[in-house]
């Protein structure tokens, strides 16, 4: 892989840091988070299973304990999202997509807000996704979870550095072609 197909257009990205993030980026970040958190959970259960088999001779399997599995997943997901937001305002998926959760005014969110936002996320799913519509139609692009926690989501990636990286790529490609 030697070439990047498209550039981050400067008009589109530079100066967008701190702007309200839109639905697609947020959906992509959430999908990434679901994948990552499920992957981590599965890996943790597998490790636990191997460890108990090595030291106790028994295997741990959640397939026959559905309620326990649901509770464990719920706790894990709650911890994954609320801890990530409380620590840095972003989950791994959000960090990949260059997003950050801040207070409605733009300040750093608290641990309480992080926990409330996670519960708000559950509420959004309970409303069959209607709670998410605010991201598309509301003037501050806030979903139900944001209203519950008093937060909003903004772009946080350094577009200028991205632009420089793109320019360095094209500049050195040009030099290579020239040679």
């Amino acid at each position: 892989m030697t070439s990047v197909p498209t550039a981050p257009p400067s008009k589109m990205t530079i100066g967008r840091q701190g702007n309200y993030a839109g639905a697609v980026s947020r959906l992509a970040a959430f999908a990434a988070d679901v994948g990552i958190s499920w992957g981590l959970f599965t890996a943790a259960v597998a490790l636990l299973s191997v460890a108990t088999q090595l030291f106790g001779g028994t295997t741990v399997s959640l397939t026959h304990h559905q309620i326990l599995a649901i509770v464990a997943v719920a706790i894990w997901e709650f911890l994954y999202f609320s801890y990530s937001w409380a620590v840095s305002g972003k989950t791994v998926g959000m960090a990949l997509l260059g997003l950050q959760v801040v207070t409605a005014e733009g300040g750093r969110m608290t641990a309480r807000q992080a926990a409330l936002r996670t519960l708000g996320l559950v509420l959004c799913f309970l409303t069959l996704g209607i709670g998410f519509l605010g991201i598309l139609f509301q003037r501050n692009r806030r979903g139900l979870q944001d209203f519950v926690a008093g937060t909003s989501v903004v772009y946080s990636w350094d577009a200028r550095a991205a632009r420089l990286r793109f320019m360095s790529h094209t500049e050195f490609s040009k030099q290579r072609h020239a040679k």
């Binding site: 981050p8 400067s10 967008r16 701190g18 309200y20 598309l136 200028r160 632009r163 990286r165 500049e171």
Partner: protein, 153 residues
């Protein structure tokens, strides 16, 4: 001036007459017309610039200049404030060279994904609000602490 009072008086009178005459002559001359008749190009051609430059002691002039004083009078912050860093970086290879030392294929891929995300975000937001027939031009771009709010029009 002459020590003899008579000649001194005459000299003074002659000087006053001369001054008066010169003033009258200068008033009578149409300087613009005179300048029009002068072939400036020809005059410049006759000047040996090299010779003039040779006679100028540049070192001495530089020594007399107080650079520190000049620097103190320059408002560097104002100059930096007026600089369009993005345009500067785009026109020079400097930014590219600096960035190349830290760039990696993963970060480039991430940049592309993020940029595409921003584009799709705008597209969806625009169309969603067009569907419900709303104009979103004067809506805030971000939270007040992060984005400078535009004055309502």
């Amino acid at each position: 001036m002459s020590p003899n009072p008579v000649t001194a008086r005459m000299e003074l009178m002659a000087q006053q007459v001369a001054e008066r005459v010169v003033a009258l002559v200068l008033d009578a001359i149409d300087i613009d017309a005179l300048l029009d008749r002068i072939d400036v190009e020809k005059l410049i051609d006759r000047v040996d610039v090299e010779k003039v430059v040779e006679r100028v002691d540049v070192e001495r002039i530089i020594e007399r200049v107080d650079v520190q004083k000049i620097i103190e009078r320059v408002d560097v912050n104002a100059i930096i404030g007026e600089l369009d860093i993005d345009a500067l970086v785009e026109q020079t290879e400097l930014g590219a060279i600096i960035a190349h030392s830290t760039t990696g294929i993963l970060s480039e891929v991430l940049d592309v994904i993020r940029a595409q995300g921003v584009g799709l975000d705008d597209f969806c937001f625009r169309w969603a609000n067009r569907l419900v027939g709303r104009k979103v031009t004067d809506w805030p771009k971000g939270p007040p602490l992060l984005v400078e709010q535009e004055a309502p029009s």
